[in-house]
Symmetry: C2
Subunit: 185 residues, 2 copies
DNA sequence: GTGTACATGTAAGTTGTTACATGATTGG
DNA sequence: CCAATCATGTAACAACTTACATGTACAC
């Protein structure tokens, strides 16, 4: 139940069309809640029907024509109530950890390369977050409530990627350099 | 595409019935890939049809009767190939980070309590993982390949929970003690 | 005119969630 | 016998994924 709220947040930050939202879900807000354009268009339709957003008045509401949305008071109220809601952390589902556990049973052939590849990906994501932090959150911009909150979210991303790079580095060390034996069938 | 592989791994570790699997998905393997009993029964049916597992011979294959499964060679092969497969880390979807970002727009009323609650949950999960580490992975049990891999997975859980407790502690400090102002509508 | 980027959408399938249904076994 | 627990399952829905369809605008 988070996608509609992600969209409401994005639209409050700046009214947008479906495709603009899609692009913003590929950076910024999408770092914490990803979505494809199909999900977004469908959800925009639902939110409009529910009276939480509306399309900005324009001449041609046709296919292929840009359609901008803005949040209505009902949408803002729903978002505020969601922010205050209690919701337990969702149970973890991590394919890489699971694969390592499977490797403990069927043998770890080929998994070293995969770990190294993931390490690269997480390292570059970490660098990317750090450059955003340098650009958008210099020390003097960390006093206003809004900026403090946004910076906290980014810190979450930075520390999460830091965790992954550290754990993957440790894992590669623990696995050792060479080929691993395969447990007998 | 990870649930079938989680089940294959669990069944290789120990042949089980659907309900036993469900219980193991509530601890151990479920710490990295959670699933409900409905998902598990459905997937067991599919895996059996695909010839990757089979029900151990027994008299009554009736409703209400326990049915144990074991992995067939085809299942083990599929699991091994999945372990060696490349798969990018899935894009992040974290409701709590998203909620904080929404709070930056509509105001953070009530979110402090929620962060404190999550901190408690992550702290106790961390303690739980640590007790498992003490029990199952004393230093002398970290030399065999299988044990090293399983320990790595657990370390992943431990460091992930460490990240959350640290970030949540920082977040509560940054938010300060009192009520937060609400941005004007 | 046509290829490319922009922009919105449909359709089908898989995975995950929630609620409920049914039968077997056992302790009191 | 009856309640509680064990055990397997159905059904309906919601969320997400993948592939494709359609139309507009504009540079060449």
């Amino acid at each position: 139940m988070s996608l509609p709220h992600a969209i409401l947040t994005a639209l409050l930050e700046k009214p947008s069309s479906g495709l603009e939202l899609t692009r913003r879900f590929d950076r910024s807000i999408g770092y914490f809640w990803s979505a494809t354009h199909q999900q977004i268009y469908r959800e925009l339709g639902k939110l409009e029907q529910a009276g939480q957003i509306r399309a900005l008045p324009s001449e041609q509401p046709a296919r292929g024509q840009k359609k901008e949305y803005e949040v209505l008071p009902a949408g803002r109220a729903e978002l505020a109530s969601w922010v205050a809601r209690r919701e337990d952390p969702k149970t973890v589902r991590d394919p890489l950890l699971l694969r390592l556990r499977a490797a403990a049973v069927v043998g770890s052939t080929g998994i070293r390369e995969e770990l190294a590849r993931h390490l690269d990906l997480h390292r570059s994501q970490l660098e990317h977050y750090r450059s955003i932090e340098d650009r958008d959150f210099p020390p003097e911009r960390r006093t206003a409530e809004t900026d403090r909150l946004r910076h906290l979210v980014l810190r979450g991303g930075i520390e999460l990627e830091t965790f992954w790079t550290k754990w993957l580095t440790d894992a590669l060390t623990a696995l050792g350099p060479g080929e691993q034996e395969t447990p007998a069938p």
